[in-house]
């Protein structure tokens, strides 16, 4: 990816939140990020409501068979360049759902089926703290 195309992405990453079968704990922590206490708008991070406007996909939860095609479809709808952030232990490595009958695989495996060059950020924790998520996003956007 050229330097030019991601130059301003660091300054205004718009996030889209998608739950893929988690226990809702990470989702609540994501919402905590957006409260006045943490105020991610200081860094230009903004919650958007449609994948077409998104730069970062916040995915929480192990990917169940039911949601797998939906997650891949949403990923295809996001204009590139974009970053996929796996929030929580389940999204990173399936956590306690490993080898469960209803789970298709961790987020990176599912998304690599449609785009092998996707960019991932892993934020482990059950759930990760809001500070961790902000730090992970900042680090990821400096890398690309």
């Amino acid at each position: 990816m050229s330097n030019l195309s991601t130059r301003w992405l660091k300054k205004s990453p718009w996030v889209y939140h998608i739950g893929t079968g988690g226990c809702n704990n990470c989702d609540i922590e994501i919402l905590d990020c957006l409260t006045p206490r943490f105020d991610v708008e200081r860094f230009g991070i903004k919650l958007v409501v449609t994948p077409r406007h998104a730069d970062v996909l916040l995915v929480s939860g192990p990917v169940t068979y039911h949601i797998k095609p939906r997650l891949q479809e949403v990923y295809k709808q996001v204009p590139k360049p974009c970053v996929v952030a796996c929030i929580g232990a389940c999204a990173c490595s399936m956590g306690i759902f490993k080898d469960a009958y209803s789970v298709a695989g961790p987020v990176d495996k599912v998304i690599k089926e449609v785009d092998p060059n996707a960019i991932f950020v892993y934020v482990p924790g059950c759930p990760p703290k809001p500070e961790t998520m902000i730090m992970a996003l900042v680090k990821a956007l400096q890398k690309i």
Binding site: W8, D39, E41, R42, G44, V49, P79, K80, P81
Partner: protein
Amino acid sequence: MENMALYLLAFLVFPGFLFTSTFGLVVSWIDRKVSALVQWRVGPPFFQPFYDLFKLWQKELIIPRNAKGTSFILAPFIGLVATSLLATIIGIINLKPEYQFVGDAIVILYLMIIPPLAIIWGGFSSGNPFASLGASREIKLMMGYELPFILAVAAVFFKVGSISLGEIIQYQQVHGALLNHPSMLVAFVVSLLWLQAKLGEIPFDISEAECEIMEGPFIEYSGPLLGIYKVMMAMLHVVCPWFLITIFWGGASMQGWGILWSLLKFIFIIVLVVLIKNTNPRVRIDQAVKFFWGWVTLLALISMILMFLGY
């Protein structure tokens, strides 16, 4: 020929596209910062709207398979051109009231309907059910808010006895701002409510309700086209208050200390809009139309009657 080049310069640079869009992005920073302060936050940095815009410019542009490509792409540009034209006309007449032409206020009223129409067109052509829903709500809302506003502006026309913006400004230079009359104060209140709906701010952001129909008409727009819509909305945040200042509040002078006074008037209106936005919940579309066709139209009629009684 030279005149033509001057008009083109006015359209593209000052007071048209470049000036209004830059100022509009600053206004959208004011909007976000004031909202943050209301919510006890720090808020975004000053250049945040510019960063957002540059980033959108570098993103991929996706045209959905179900969309009608041509109108999907054209709609934002039409809105942008209409808004630039509005800014040019209002700006030039504010600078030099003698540049008026017959019925320029009517032209402005018509041009102001084009940006919402562009949003509606783009929404319907994007082939998304949520976008169609948002676009149809925008139509209803537009029918709601235009009626009282045109009545309010008609009250101004009758008071001054002219339908040209330049003469309205000159009248105010001689007789003082129209706001000093009770009838015009009522009309100004009507116009402020119109402004809230025109700019798509809460409580009247029904057509692009984020958590309900996901930005409505903008749902399928991505990258540069979304950026153009953002610029258009930012410019509307400049142009509409500017028009209200022109017809009610003695115009926006651009000379000496007048600039500061004009800026203060402008920021007063914008902050008022942001405060209303931050302290109200969203209404339903039927409530909004009832509100505009009921109470607000009544207010506009009261202003008209007061004006004919000579207040």
